[in-house]
Symmetry: C3
Subunit: 137 residues, 3 copies
Amino acid sequence: MNSHTEYLTFNTEDHREYIDITGEVEEAVRKSDISEGMVLVSAMHITAGVYVNDAESGIIRDIDEWLGRLAPEGVDYHHHRTGESNGDAHLKSLLIHHEVILPVTEGSLDLGPWQQVYYAEFDGQRKKRVIIKVMGE
Amino acid sequence: MNSHTEYLTFNTEDHREYIDITGEVEEAVRKSDISEGMVLVSAMHITAGVYVNDAESGIIRDIDEWLGRLAPEGVDYHHHRTGESNGDAHLKSLLIHHEVILPVTEGSLDLGPWQQVYYAEFDGQRKKRVIIKVMGE
Amino acid sequence: MNSHTEYLTFNTEDHREYIDITGEVEEAVRKSDISEGMVLVSAMHITAGVYVNDAESGIIRDIDEWLGRLAPEGVDYHHHRTGESNGDAHLKSLLIHHEVILPVTEGSLDLGPWQQVYYAEFDGQRKKRVIIKVMGE
């Protein structure tokens, strides 16, 4: 088994952002020289996520508003007694999930026609990282 | 490392359907001749999901009604300005997640007694695909 | 490719519990002698989950209360016609997800500074299992 590991760094301008990283993941697969296997793409933080969905600005707004309804900001979370104010970002990370595994077939990401990989920042404006690990033969 | 890849195709009669694909995944593991490793089972669409839970008709109705409460149809989603009407199916896919990784031990799926693998269709009546990739030794 | 498989057993005192298993997963990685690869950590039950988040007692209470709002107990779920009373635990398992994949780099879990692995029990006071499978080179 071969493997190839990279780290992406983000420091978003906005508090919440949704960033298409499909190109970066494709590039890591190309560099790995792996033709059959998979890629793990995982946020290294508990207030961010990685998901697969559509690169359409309307659905991205829908996702943001939906997460805001199911895991709202401005609630008096127990977590805030530690001095933090990002309880909602933890819950959003759990809801969207922090990692995906993508198949690699014949040296490329084996995704469906509309599937794009997104980094979802829920508590930005600071340095955050994502690990990309390609494994296979 | 060895690998074996298959694609399942669905074209559901209903708009939403929940289909037990455990047998198909088991069969792919058997064909792969892999004894230790894992299987990735991943929907290739942004309006479908793959999950592990119970093959009991009551809980399947509960899951469907619950997804309908948390990610309702009939909302005026921003995504619908593109002409689409399936915003809820995107959100349901994110909530249930689009892929699972299952362990393979001694040549079989190493699942607990009630764990079954389901394909969840949230915008059907068209051709959709799932990738099954077995990897290991 | 090498692999190493272990099973953890739980029998919680409380109906719902959140148990930090990061040490157990680290120890399995150490025993596996794998330096590059990944670990699958997966609940073998349909009423439990595995997730990655913060080891802070306030956020754990927040997670528990949040899951209680999104997938409440005491609802007359269809599933209960089978004689069960744990419909909410199934939905909580789907929401939090039953498995995670963690990267292994240079022989250790390659997690961010606050990432801890949790077993989430939603219907305890009985014997339950988690599989840990390390794979790589």
